[in-house]
Assembly symmetry: C2
Homo-oligomer: 196 residues x 2
């Protein structure tokens, strides 16, 4: 069965790939808007993992809506959620038997509710699976420690492939660098450099 996994090059979506690769033919798929070429960081991680890679191009209207929500809210949660659901729709519309993401049990964003999962499956005749949704942060960190080589640090220093990098770039372009500092709280990102 062909499975497309929404992929950022970070530890969660990489661990999701490892959990699925014995059961599906996994393709790592990175959603992007064409704003930056940060998707190449995900392609590099995919090469290190020896898994096929694909881009999922999203309409720039999705980025505009997301940035507008982030600006209105003063925090990124709803904007990121908007892009994540659009990315899953884009992936579901491609020719996979199953699609997946790396959402964890305790993620506040993005989240995919049971009803949203069922709706995706029904509308696109595809299975949606979230292999980490039954794993908490501690369990994920311990599994990453034993299976992956990872670099970690603040968002601006770590190669980051997913759509958050492009939303940041768009905000800087439109509102200046201070907007990113204002709207995006500091948090560490991870980038996978290989299997252990």
């Amino acid at each position: 069965m062909q499975l497309g996994l929404l992929y950022s090059g970070g530890k969660d979506s990489t661990l999701a790939a490892l959990l699925l690769e014995d059961f599906y033919d996994v393709t790592l798929a990175t959603a992007h808007f064409g704003i930056t070429d940060d998707w190449r960081h995900a392609e590099n991680a995919a090469t290190e993992l020896d898994l096929p890679f694909r881009r999922v191009e999203l309409d720039e209207g999705v980025a505009e809506e997301a940035v507008s929500r982030i600006r209105d809210d003063g925090f990124p949660r709803n904007g990121i959620q908007h892009v994540h659901l659009a990315a899953l729709e884009g992936l579901a519309a491609a020719d996979f038997d199953a699609i997946a993401d790396g959402t964890r049990r305790d993620d506040r964003v993005p989240t995919v509710s049971r009803a949203q999962a069922q709706s995706l499956e029904d509308r696109y005749d595809v299975d949606y699976v979230a292999p980490l949704s039954g794993f908490g942060r501690g369990a994920v960190d311990r599994l990453v420690e034993s299976t992956l080589d990872v670099v970690a640090g603040p968002s601006e220093e770590i190669p980051r492939a997913d759509y958050e990098a492009e939303l940041r770039a768009k905000l800087i372009d439109e509102d200046g660098p201070a907007a990113v500092a204002e709207y995006f709280p500091d948090h560490d990102q991870t980038h996978v450099t290989g299997r252990r």
Copy 2:
């Protein structure tokens, strides 16, 4: 890392074992009350899978409370939920680094909420993982089809190792065979006979 997986010999908990076995040293653990020796069906399935097996003995008071709830409710859901949570507590109290079960995204029972999962982890200093909680019924069935040999049929005809068999036996003993037909709706069970 040593992981104990609550195990029935059915397709869901077996698929959970396959998802976890590359990441943990998995022991299949079957909770029972000493009412019947149906746990041997799980032990047989574990032997076929070539995974270690252990029993988790639960206090018969848990079975008494469950049967009482089933009798009061007229349906088994809350009684089964009561036993499942007690079984997870018993497993968490053993010497594992992580515990797991085979609950699926769309299971109505048993279910383990995010708060219950966090509480188990905090109280016992153990990771609780539910590897199928991000998989719907269709995805599980397709993975089982490609990985396991399974027999399926009505509950009374399929070797069934988990606590539901003992709750049925206790109900028959106390209230007669009609009670089981009244309280337990017909549904097909599965028993795993080996890997594909």
